[in-house]
Amino acid sequence: MRLLRFLAVISLLLLPEIGRACYYPWYYCSSPALYRVEQIDESAVESKKMANLRDWQQMTSLDIPIDDIERVVYSMTLEEYEALCAVEHYTGSNMFARWIKENDPAIMEFLLLAKRNEFVRFSYNSLWYYPTMKVGGPMTLEEIIDVSLNTKDERLRSRYMLQAMRAMYTLCRYDECIELWEREFESRPMEDTMRRHAYLYIAGALYHTGEVDKAIDMYAEAGDINSILYIAQLEGLDISKVELLERLYRNNPNNPTILERVVNIVYEEEGPIFFRENGYENHVLSNNSRELLDMSLRLASEGRDVAIWYYTAAYIYYLEGRLYDADRTLMLAEHSHKSPFMSESIEVLRIIIDAHTAKLDKRYEQRLLKQLTWLEEKNYAYIDGVDMNYTSSVSFYVFPTGLYYWKSSMQYLINEILVPRYQEAGNGVRALQLANYSSYFLLRPNTSIHESYYDSDNYEWIDMGYDTLNDYRHFIYGFNALDYSTFFFSVVDTSDIDDVLAYVEGANTPNGELERLLNRGSYLDRDFLYDIAGTHCLRNMRYAEAEHYLNEVDYYYSNYGLNVSQKYDPFEFERVRKTSGDFRLDFAREMASLERAMDNATNSNVRARYMIRYAIGLKNSFTRCWELTHYYDGYVPHTYDTHSWWSDAHTKATIGKANAMVQEALSIIDDRELAAEMHYMFGNFRTVALDYPDTYYGDIVRTQCDHLNDYDGHCLDKHWW
């Protein structure tokens, strides 16, 4: 069985996200990355269902657990309930079932009617349903209505009336629904459970009888924005989502669905920006966001939840790229009365805006130190509270999966704002320091990670259980899918070599508090960094320096710690298999040696031999033996913006240089046998046959090939030119 260590450090649970993460390298999350408002906990508002269960508890016995009531009232099917009705003595463990069976036949009877009602109503979705057999009780909605309306049980009256209303609604008898509401429910207290249950039926009935405005008002009062939008769509009413939100908010600011909707609008706006589809600058806001901005400013100026709405407006300005307006509006939020929760959200946005607008000087970096320290604390506090069963994947810490507000804030600040700004300002080292910190600040050496292997023969993932991060790095047997696919790696892989070398050289000698903070959160493994430095040198033909750095890389790491390995001998013109643990170091040494030999050679033929070997090595290091100069040749899971180095200018120039060196080498050879050998190796058979017919290789070409024209140019199996 062939196991591919294709992607070894992801949780199986997170596979779907992994796939998408490849295409959306940055923010993939199910909630806004940078927008955070204090939402009302819906669970704190007792649901109608819970209120109903409590009513049943009050009506029966406070000793009966709510779960038991829930089981009978909501979960039990009609069939199960009929069986309960049929048994003479209940022997089960459900206390509610026992109570009503032994003490309260009226409730038994009512629940039977209610369950039949739901059963028939469900069946009635076809509108054509009609039962075919009597079962000893009402089985049509008409009968259920009749029985319910004629109940003599005052204790259960409102419950019977609700059943009647449900059946009437299903039968489209909306006028009767409304009459029943006016007669039985309207005068009850707002918090009455049965009234709350009946409320939305009435809103629906009003709509069906043409009372659209009344229906919308009732839905608004109930906070049911979905129904309002639905009606608006049906009626062709020009009511925007935000307009409704404002209407709901003014009606009941504590309606938990309002901020939930606001968050959704912001989330929809964030997506295209953070997925870099359009970019952050000159982003055109959607109509919803534009209206939300106006609404936020309007509500804040009226003194309603000022911090929330100015913060919201500031964030929308930010999304639009209007930094000045965002800054000014956020200031208003900062100066308003705010909860500790909103203070934090406002502070994060302030940090983001500051990162965009500040001059990158010492004063800013002093602020940045505090800001990063604070964000780090918030991140750690959050992580400590997370259920590790869901966060054991290293993806949670490093990659976009498992993104949450504090992590996305930190990583957005660094990855999207500070790194590009520092690079633009010419401070590539600081950019690398920040990138490293951003990628690794949440990881700890004993972080448990989940390993999975892809068995390409059987097309299945194989769960290999858990490891610590440390163990993973040391026993990965040649495919480190973690460290060579982080944001830091993408930055360091594409940075200028001098910045990379400066960063690597100074990595363990931090200068100042900010660097100490960044270093504390960074992955500064010497093998890891020196291998990167050496590889950059190989890529830039700085072989002596490459030798220096690669010489510092542990042999074990070179063998097993990378995500690539050697396949072919780089100095062979033909494809010749070769594997070596220190393949980069070996190559660096040989190339450095050849450089020295070329410089020192006095004989042109000898020099030409060195030049040709060097040129072959150089070209192969960007083609067949690309592992010498790169860590990937195409797709790499999780890699941020995989760089297409195959076709970049540097690669083209380097290959051009190798070709030129070959031409030059061939031109300086004055030994005819050597010249014929070299031309033969490069497939220049016509040249060999015409210019060197008297040589060993000239003889081969002449005697084996009758038609010299066939060999003009290159040979099919010698891909050089």
């Binding site: 509108l127 054509w128 009609y130 039962p131 075919t132 057999m133 049509t140 489209c172």
Partner: protein
């Protein structure tokens, strides 16, 4: 002369042959003579609750009514409960059974289909035919209406909807036959001279609601012999038409007009109050009018196939007619 004699004798023979099986209509056209099959008196029940009063039960017994045409539900346009922006044909006004069917009375479950619903069935006639029949039979079964031999569809089809209705009844007819049951349909006067009728085993000619109710100049919208006669005179060929039963009105109402415009139907005109500018047209066919129409119909269309049917079972209406008058209406030639 010999030739004339031949023609005369031939004509007499033909007429004699026809007289044994046919009536001659007033216009000289041929009409069918209907076979009496399961002959019995019949009555419509057109309320949403089946709970006949003692008087109504006594009426059924006294007049030996053997067949009840019970309207089970209407099929109308209803907003779909799942997708309210969709309007779909669906049952409404389903009759509730608060009483058992009187013993010995055959039930013909009947459905009224609105034109709007019929239009929506276009293209789906087969499916709706089965849904309607299945629901009728489910109601019959659930409400213990006894053995059913016939199902009736009632629809005021028009020229533009006859094809849809024909497709609907065609499939219902075939479907019912697989269940060993038959289909009847109602036919209104204005449909009598249509080129063809929807497919069914038999029909019920509705001899009421013959006039334009909203027209102030209408004398009696329930039954006016001057409205009926033109239709009957136009009927000339009944050979290939289905056998017919006849339904006669035994009800009345008031039609209120306000400032010359139709306003409403008043079920109890005796106690109606009229405001300024309001007039009330009291409509109730006299038994003489009903019997006149009956004789004309039988003369023109032939005797009834199974039953003369009265519309409808409501003691408040029926008490306006004597037993003798009812008997005359029920009488079959």
């Amino acid at each position: 002369m010999r030739q004339r004699l031949f023609y005369f004798v031939s004509a007499v023979v033909i007429l004699l042959l026809m007289s044994s099986s046919r009536h001659v209509d007033s216009g000289g056209g041929a009409i069918s003579v209907q076979q009496h099959e399961n002959p019995t008196n019949a009555i419509y029940h057109w309320k949403t609750v089946f709970n006949p009063s003692a008087e109504e039960l006594a009426f059924i017994e006294r007049h030996d009514i053997g067949r009840l045409y019970i309207k089970m539900f209407d099929v109308a346009c209803v907003k779909d409960s799942i997708e309210p922006y969709n309007v779909v044909p669906a049952p409404i006004a389903t009759t509730r059974f608060d009483a058992s069917i009187p013993e010995g009375v055959e039930v013909v479950p009947t459905v009224y289909i609105t034109l709007e619903a019929l239009r929506l069935m276009e293209g789906y006639e087969c499916a709706y035919a089965e849904m309607i029949v299945d629901r009728l039979l489910a109601m019959v079964s659930y409400n213990e209406c006894g053995e059913i031999r016939e199902v009736q569809f009632d629809c005021d089809w028009t020229e533009s909807t006859i094809d849809i209705y024909t497709a609907l009844t065609d499939h219902a007819h075939s479907y019912l036959h697989t269940l060993d049951k038959e289909l009847s349909i109602t036919i209104r006067l204005h449909q009598l001279d249509d080129d063809y009728w929807p497919i069914a085993d038999r029909g019920v000619l509705m001899l009421y609601n013959t006039g334009a109710i909203k027209n102030p100049s209408t004398r009696n919208s329930i039954l006016d012999i001057t409205d009926v006669m033109p239709y009957l005179r136009r009927i000339t060929y009944m050979d290939d038409r289905m056998p017919l039963d006849y339904a006669y009105p035994t009800f009345g109402w008031g039609v209120k007009f306000r400032d010359g415009e139709f306003h409403s139907i008043v079920s109890d005109p005796a106690s109606a109050t009229l405001g300024e500018g309001e007039t009330l047209r009291v409509e109730r066919p006299t038994v003489e009018e009903v019997l006149t129409v009956k004789s004309w119909v039988e003369e023109n269309l032939g005797g009834v196939y199974q039953s003369n049917i009265i519309y409808h079972l409501d003691d408040e209406e029926l008490k306006n007619y004597t037993d003798d008058e009812i008997t005359q209406i029920f009488s079959r030639n």
